[in-house]
């Protein structure tokens, strides 16, 4: 599906197309030098499409091509996420910096997970078993956890396991199981799967009322203003009142398995500080580096805003990096 740019203003682009495009689908604006900038359809009016671009729009011209895709903005899920530092579009920042240098140009995208790194696969089902979405097929060890490999969450109905890979080392792109659906079609399962960020991901028997206290080891929180596992809380505070410090203490001492930090729209300097400091912090519970159970997603205040909106949904910030020193 194709379109042509009619107008560019800020991080928004208006394009004209004759194809039937869907709201929230993604696309690429092709710059005259061939670079493709990721964008998302946020409004469709007749043959006019409003797009938000996750990158600097500098260099885009009226008449440039837009290529529309069918998928929604998605993240890649699989072993290898822990310990990563991503930008809002799930580009691993350290790898990106290695490939293109510290000052990033728009239009660089890398696969979020290492596709070559082998994982020690242990199957947990046998051929013939009947499974549903989110059922565990096997597991690989990741950091201090058992990372379960599940039937892709979007698959509906029941599936029969036709074959499962034997124990051994495989990269995430290798097919590790074949499932057959009720009408006999075969589907391959790998260790990675994608999920659209704006759709809640929750395959569960039931939702529980959160009641178990989440202990943060901060006295004023635990004793006076407690939070619970599965609950929500908010820390409003003026600039400089210590929000970020409080978050760091919480992420270090809170009794949870995994911490995901999303630094959205903060000053670049602070983000760099976080990235530098975290790997050096020790987890008081495991004695290892705190990064082994942490994922950081960041975009700075210098990045275009469109980014931030979509970013909230990844881990959180999903944004672009015109020039972020990593």
């Amino acid at each position: 599906m194709k379109g042509r740019i009619k107008a560019v203003f800020g991080n928004m682009v208006v394009a004209q197309t004759e194809d039937r495009v869907v709201k929230n689908a993604i696309g690429y604006c092709v710059r005259s030098d061939g670079r493709k900038l990721l964008c998302e359809i946020i409004r469709v009016r007749g043959d006019c499409v409003d797009l938000q671009i996750f990158e600097e729009t500098r260099g885009l011209r009226v008449g440039d091509h837009v290529e529309f895709q069918e998928d929604m903005l998605s993240v890649v899920l699989g072993p290898g996420l822990l310990g990563q530092i991503y930008d809002g579009l799930q580009n691993p920042l350290p790898e990106l910096a290695e490939q293109v240098g510290f000052f990033l140009e728009p239009g660089n995208y890398i696969h979020a997970l290492d596709t070559e790194c082998p994982w020690d696969w242990t199957p947990k089902v046998q051929a013939g078993a009947v499974v549903e979405a989110a059922d565990t097929l096997g597991s690989v060890p990741e950091s201090i956890f058992e990372h379960n490999i599940m039937v892709p969450f979007g698959w509906e109905g029941q599936y029969t396991v036709q074959s499962v890979a034997k124990s051994g080392s495989y990269p995430i792109v290798k097919e590790i199981a074949t499932l057959t659906d009720s009408s006999g079609n075969e589907h391959a399962v790998t260790m990675e799967q994608v999920w659209p960020v704006k759709r809640p991901l929750c395959v569960a028997k039931r939702r529980l009322l959160p009641s178990k206290p989440l202990v943060t080891s901060v006295r004023i929180i635990d004793s006076m203003f407690p939070i619970v596992q599965g609950g929500t809380y908010c820390i409003p505070g003026p600039f400089g009142a210590g929000k970020t410090v409080l978050q760091q203490i919480t992420s270090r001492h809170a009794h949870v398995d995994i911490v995901i930090i999303t630094a959205c729209g903060e000053r670049a300097g602070e983000v760099v500080d976080t990235i530098r400091e975290f790997p050096e912090l020790h987890d008081p519970r495991t004695g290892k580096s705190l990064m082994e159970r942490t994922i950081i997603i960041c975009n700075t205040s210098a990045m275009p805003v469109a980014a931030r909106d979509a970013s909230v949904y990844t881990g959180w910030p999903r944004a672009m990096l015109p020039s972020i020193p990593v």
Partner: protein, 300 residues
């Protein structure tokens, strides 16, 4: 968010720290403005509240299909311009979250960390301490603050000693319990059992009826107790003070525990002994002076 949900699906407990939701809201405002949508309050789009609600709605504890329980907890920061909590983003967030830790500029300027304002903040959840006890302390904090405000008008002279003591007790609780030194290895993290134990001890003092002769005595005594407690906070936790059956802490990984070669840290039990002694002697004095007072009345 999706990453957090994915790990919840694996069966883990995830904490998502979102810093900061205000910038996200600003981004929404900018895009909405470019789309020429009709602006709402402070030019934020009309759907600001529903978007924020949808985001926090994705937190939750769930029972997986294999009966394991997993959760995603969201902690979002908001940076309201000028510390004004009445702006739309803060207000929209307050409607949907279960706890509110309002940071205050005046507390952080006064070097009281963590700068969570004990009067503004609230939580709908039940934590590790009996809610009745927490309520008692809340009332006391409020009362102490009232007295302080009154005192700025009438001066120390015009404040009755009971009120004055109340205010000192509030200050004591603040400095000995609410404040915590993030840079100290021991004080930075307080375990569940320790919090319960120290909280009870503090409540004992807060509820005790010390009849002080004058304001100077009151001030000196509470200052003394307060510094004892602060030293106590720095002392490594000794789990033997509570019976094993009541303990809830996860056993610490011994390899992580540093050998403290430091000598300036006091012994947990020793300081506890000193504190108990001080309380006892104070109560005894108080009792005596009351009896003496009655005697005087009788003789008069």
């Amino acid at each position: 968010m999706t990453l957090a949900e994915y790990y919840r699906q694996i069966g883990l407990n995830v904490l998502l720290l979102a810093d900061s939701t205000s910038r996200w809201a600003q981004a929404m405002r900018e895009i909405s403005g470019r789309l020429e949508e009709i602006p709402g309050e402070e030019a934020f789009p009309a759907y600001l509240e529903s978007r924020i609600a949808n985001f926090y709605e994705r937190a939750g504890a769930i029972e997986l299909r294999d009966k394991r329980i997993a959760s995603v907890t969201i902690g979002g920061t908001v940076s309201p311009a000028g510390g004004n909590f009445d702006e739309p983003v803060t207000q929209a967030t307050l409607k949907v979250v279960g706890a509110f830790h309002g940071l205050s500029r005046s507390r952080s300027d006064a070097r009281r960390y963590p700068a969570i304002d004990p009067l503004d903040s609230w939580s709908k959840y039940v934590g590790i301490i009996d809610p009745k006890k927490v309520q008692k302390v809340h009332n006391m904090l409020r009362r102490g603050d009232e007295v302080r405000q009154m005192m700025t008008v009438v001066g120390e002279e015009g404040t009755p000693i009971e009120d004055f003591t109340m205010m000192l007790k509030e200050e004591f609780f603040d400095s000995a319990y609410l404040q915590q030194n993030a840079f100290d290895d021991v004080d930075a993290a307080t375990s569940i059992d320790r919090q319960r134990f120290v909280f009870d001890k503090i409540l004992e003092i807060l509820e005790a009826d010390f009849a002080f002769k004058d304001k100077d005595e009151a001030r000196h005594t509470l200052k003394k107790i307060s510094s004892m407690f602060i030293n106590w906070n720095y002392a490594p936790w000794d789990e033997s003070v509570i019976p094993e059956s009541d303990r809830e802490d996860e056993p610490m990984d011994k390899s992580v525990r540093r050998d403290d070669g430091e000598t300036e840290r006091g012994d947990f039990k020793e300081i506890l002994g000193q504190i108990d002694q001080t309380i006892q002697s104070l109560l005894k004095n108080a009792g005596k002076s009351e009896v003496e007072g009655e005697l005087e009345q009788v003789t008069a």
